[in-house]
C-alpha cells in the first residue's frame, strides 16, 4: 500500500485531467451517438465517472478529502439517476415496446 501510494507523486496531474477529459468526451459522444436509451444511460454513467476520477485526483493532489466526499455524493446521485432512469426505460418498453430514444419525441407541443 505504501508503495502504491507513493506512486501518485510520479504521475503528473495532467495525466488524470487528460484521461477524464477523454472519458467525458467519449461518454458525451456516446450520448449523441446512440439511440438505445439504456446505452445512453450507460454513457451518462461514464461521464459521471470521469468527473469522479478528476475529483479524486485533485483531492489526492491537494491532500483534501473534500473531493472524495464529492465523489461520494456523485455516486449517490448517479445511483438515484439510474434507478429513476431505468424505471423510465422499463415503462417505455412496457408502453411502446421499444427503447429507442427517438420515440421520445413528445416534448414538443
Amino acid at each position: 500500500m505504501k508503495e502504491l501510494s507513493s506512486a501518485i507523486q510520479l504521475i503528473p496531474l495532467e495525466n488524470y485531467i487528460f484521461l477524464s477529459v477523454a472519458l467525458f468526451s467519449i461518454g458525451m459522444m456516446g450520448v449523441l451517438f446512440r439511440r438505445n436509451t439504456i446505452a445512453i444511460l450507460m454513457c451518462l454513467e461514464l461521464m459521471f465517472n470521469s468527473v469522479n476520477l478528476l475529483l479524486t485526483a485533485f483531492s489526492a493532489y491537494h491532500s483534501d478529502p473534500s473531493g472524495q466526499v464529492f465523489v461520494f455524493f456523485i455516486m449517490i446521485v448517479a445511483a438515484a439517476e439510474v434507478a429513476v432512469g431505468l424505471s423510465i426505460v422499463v415503462m417505455m418498453k412496457r408502453n411502446v415496446d421499444s427503447i429507442d430514444i427517438n420515440l421520445l419525441n413528445r416534448l414538443k407541443w
Partner: protein, 633 residues
C-alpha cells in the same frame, strides 16, 4: 451538578418524534388502520413529552441557565452563517412541556374524537406536523428557525381549520385565518430583516448581547419591536387582527384546543417574552401593547357575552385571555404572561376538550341554546368543565386565580385604572363562562333529538388529567403573599428579564383579592339567577333586541368595519386599475408581445422537434459555444 452538554444533545429528539410520526402517518396514510395513526401520533408526542421532562430535570439539576444545541450548519452564504440550533433554556422548556404535554393529551383525546372521520390519518399527520413546527418555533435558537416554525404552525393551522374542506364556509374560515396571519407575518419578517441589518445576526444570544449595549428607547429598537409586535398581534389574535380566531373554530375541536387555545396563539406571547430584552428597551412598544391588550381583553369579552355557539364563546374568551397576556407583556411582567399562558393552556384546553366532548355527545350540535341538562348525562364532562370554568373565572385555588391575580396585581402596580379595567374584563369573563356553563349543564334538555351520553374513556381520561392540572396548576407559582416562593417566576427569571416594578403592600394586595373575589361571587350568583333559576334562554338569532345587544352580537361590526375600511377601497382601486389600466394598456401590450412571440415561435418551432436526441445535440452545442466563448473571447 450534572454536566449539561452531553445530555442536552437528546433535545433534537423532541421535535424529531412528531416529525417521525408525521412521516409515518402521512406516508403510510392508506395503509394504516383507523386507530393506528392516532396511536402512532400520540405515542410520538408522548415520547416528546417524556424527553422534555427529562430535559427539564437535566436543566434543573445542572444549574446552568441555557444550552445551545447546534445540529448542523444550516445557512452558510458569505457572512451569513445560521446554524440549525436549538436553544434550551427555561422559557423554551416551559413551552415545550406545554406543547408536548397538552399536545399528547389532545392527541389521545382525538383518537376518540376523530374516530369516525374518514381522513383521520391525515388529521393525525397534520397534528403531528403542527406539533413539530410548534416545537421548532419554541426551540429555535434564532429568529429564522422561529420564523420557520411560525410559518409551519400557520400552515398547519390553515390545513386543520379547513380540515373538513368540503364545507365552503370552513374553507373560507381557513383562508381568512391564513390571510390575517400573513398580514402579521409581513410585519414579523420585516422585523427579522431589520434585526439582521441592525445586529448582523438573527441568533438570540447575539442579538440580545448586542441589544443590551443599545440605549433604551432607540428608534430602531422601537421599529423592530413594533414590527415584531405586528407579527405577534396577527398570530395571537389581538385587535385588529383577531377576527380569524373565532372563525377558526370551524376546525375539529381538538384542533381548536391544541392550536387555537393552548399553543399556537401563544406563539406571539412567547416571541415577545423571548425578545424581552428588546422590549424592555422599547417603552413605546410596551405602552402600545398595554393598550392593545386591555382593549382586546375587554371588547372580546363583551362580544363573548352574546355568543351562542359553544366554541365561539370559548374562542372569544381565548382572545380575551390573550389580551390579558399582552397586558402583562406590556407591563413588563413577562413571566406573569408566560405563567398565564401555562395555566390558560391547562384550563382552555380542558374547556375546549370538554366542549368537544359535549358536541360529540350532542351529535355535532354546537348551539348552547339547544343544550342543557347535561349534568346528569355526562358526569365526568360536567365535573371537569366546572373545574375549568372556575379556573378561568379566577376562583381560588384554581390555577386561573393565581395567574390572573398576578397580572392584576402588576396592573395595579402601574396604575389603578388599568387594574379597574382589567378586573372589569375578568368579571365579564366570569359571567359569560358561567352563562355557558349553566346553559349547557343545568336546566332541561332542550334538544329532543340528541341522546347525550358520556364520551369514551379515551376522551375522558385526558379531560381528567387536564382538570387535575387546572386545579393545581396554580400552585406552580404561589406568590409570597400566600407563603409561596413564586417558583415559576423565579424559574423563568433565568431566561426572561422582567421589568422592575414598584412594590405594593401585602395588605393592599389582600384587599384587592377580596374585592375581586366578592365581585366574582356576585357575578356567579347573577348568572345562576338568570340562567338556572329563571331558565332564561338567549334569544334566537334575528329576534328583536336592543341596539347594544345587536352591536355586541355583531361583534361590534368589526368584520364589517374591516370590509368597509380595507376591502372596499382596495376593491375599488383594483377595479379601477383593472378596467382602465390593465385592459386598455397592459393587455394590448401583452397581447401584442404574445402575438409577436407566437409568430416568431412558429418560425422557430421547426427547430423544436420534440426529439430528445436532438435536444441533447443542441445542449452539447450550446455548452461548446459557451466554453469557447469563455475561453477565447
Amino acid at each position: 451538578m450534572v454536566a449539561l452538554i452531553p445530555y442536552i444533545t437528546i433535545a433534537w429528539l423532541v421535535p424529531a418524534f412528531p416529525l417521525v410520526g408525521f412521516l409515518i402517518t402521512s406516508l403510510a396514510k392508506n395503509k394504516l388502520k383507523h386507530n393506528q395513526a392516532g396511536i402512532i401520533a400520540s405515542t410520538m408526542v408522548a415520547l416528546s413529552f417524556i424527553t422534555s421532562v427529562f430535559l427539564f430535570f437535566i436543566l434543573n439539576s445542572s444549574g446552568q441557565d441555557s444550552a445551545t444545541l447546534t445540529l448542523f450548519n444550516w445557512v452558510s452564504a458569505g457572512d451569513l452563517k445560521i446554524p440549525f440550533a436549538f436553544l434550551i433554556d427555561h422559557l423554551s422548556l416551559v413551552m415545550m412541556l406545554i406543547i408536548t404535554g397538552i399536545g399528547a393529551l389532545i392527541h389521545i383525546y382525538s383518537i376518540g374524537y376523530m374516530h369516525d372521520d374518514e381522513r383521520v390519518n391525515s388529521f393525525f399527520a397534520q397534528m403531528n406536523l403542527f406539533t413539530f413546527s410548534m416545537l421548532l418555533l419554541v426551540m429555535g435558537a434564532n429568529y429564522l428557525i422561529l420564523f420557520i416554525g411560525w410559518e409551519g404552525v400557520g400552515f398547519c393551522s390553515y390545513l386543520l381549520i379547513g380540515f373538513w374542506f368540503k364545507n365552503p364556509a370552513f374553507n373560507y374560515a381557513a383562508r381568512k385565518a391564513f390571510v390575517m396571519n400573513r398580514i402579521g407575518d409581513l410585519g414579523f419578517i420585516l422585523g427579522i430583516i431589520m434585526l439582521f441589518f441592525t445586529f448582523k445576526s438573527v441568533s438570540f444570544n447575539e442579538v440580545f448581547t448586542q441589544a443590551a449595549t443599545l440605549q433604551s428607547g432607540a428608534p430602531i429598537l422601537t421599529l423592530i419591536t413594533l414590527l415584531l409586535l405586528v407579527g405577534a398581534v396577527g398570530k395571537s389574535a389581538q385587535i385588529p387582527l383577531f377576527t380569524w380566531l373565532p372563525d377558526a373554530m370551524a376546525g375539529p375541536t381538538p384542533v381548536s384546543a391544541l392550536i387555537h387555545a393552548a399553543t399556537m396563539v401563544t406563539a406571539g406571547i412567547y416571541m415577545i417574552a423571548r425578545s424581552s430584552i428588546l422590549y424592555n428597551l422599547a417603552p413605546i412598544t410596551s405602552n402600545v401593547m398595554i393598550v392593545l391588550g386591555l382593549t382586546t381583553a375587554i371588547i372580546t369579552a363583551i362580544v363573548g357575552l352574546r355568543q351562542n355557539d359553544i366554541k365561539k364563546v370559548l374562542a372569544y374568551s381565548t382572545v380575551s385571555q390573550l389580551g390579558y397576556m399582552f397586558l402583562a407583556l406590556g407591563l413588563g411582567a413577562y413571566s406573569a404572561a408566560i405563567f398565564h399562558v401555562t395555566t390558560h393552556a391547562f384550563f382552555k384546553a380542558l374547556l375546549f376538550l370538554g366542549a368537544g366532548s359535549i358536541i360529540h355527545a350532542m351529535g355535532g350540535e354546537q348551539d348552547i341554546r339547544k343544550m342543557g341538562g347535561l349534568r346528569s348525562k355526562m358526569p365526568i364532562t360536567f365535573l371537569t368543565f366546572l373545574i375549568a370554568t372556575l379556573a378561568i373565572s379566577g376562583i381560588p385555588p384554581f390555577s386561573g386565580f393565581f395567574s390572573k391575580d398576578l397580572i392584576l396585581t402588576k396592573a395595579f402596580e402601574t396604575s389603578p385604572w388599568l387594574y379597574a379595567f382589567a378586573l372589569g374584563g375578568a368579571l365579564i369573563t366570569c359571567f359569560y363562562m358561567f352563562r355557558l356553563f349553566y346553559l349547557v349543564f343545568f336546566g332541561d334538555q332542550r334538544l329532543s333529538s340528541a341522546h347525550p351520553h358520556e364520551s369514551p374513556r379515551v376522551m375522558t381520561v385526558p379531560l381528567l388529567v387536564l382538570s387535575v392540572l387546572s386545579l393545581f396548576g396554580g400552585f406552580l407559582n404561589i406568590p409570597a403573599l400566600f407563603g409561596g416562593n413564586s417558583g415559576f417566576e423565579n424559574f423563568l427569571h433565568k431566561a426572561v428579564t422582567s421589568k422592575e416594578s414598584g412594590e405594593i403592600h401585602s395588605a393592599t394586595e389582600i384587599g384587592l383579592i377580596i374585592v375581586s373575589l366578592s365581585l366574582l361571587g356576585i357575578i356567579i350568583l347573577l348568572a345562576y339567577r338568570t340562567y338556572v333559576k329563571k331558565s332564561t334562554v338567549p334569544a334566537a338569532d334575528g329576534a328583536p333586541s336592543s341596539l347594544i345587544a345587536r352591536i355586541v352580537a355583531k361583534k361590534f361590526y368589526l368584520d364589517e368595519i374591516f370590509a368597509a375600511l380595507i376591502e372596499k377601497p382596495f376593491g375599488r382601486l383594483s377595479d379601477f386599475l383593472f378596467k382602465s389600466v390593465e385592459v386598455k394598456v397592459l393587455d394590448s401590450a401583452v397581447d401584442g408581445v404574445g402575438t409577436l412571440t407566437s409568430r416568431l415561435g412558429s418560425l422557430v418551432r421547426r427547430l423544436q422537434q420534440g426529439n430528445i436526441s436532438f435536444y441533447l445535440f443542441a445542449m452539447v452545442a450550446g455548452i461548446l459555444l459557451f466554453i469557447i466563448f469563455i475561453l477565447f473571447v
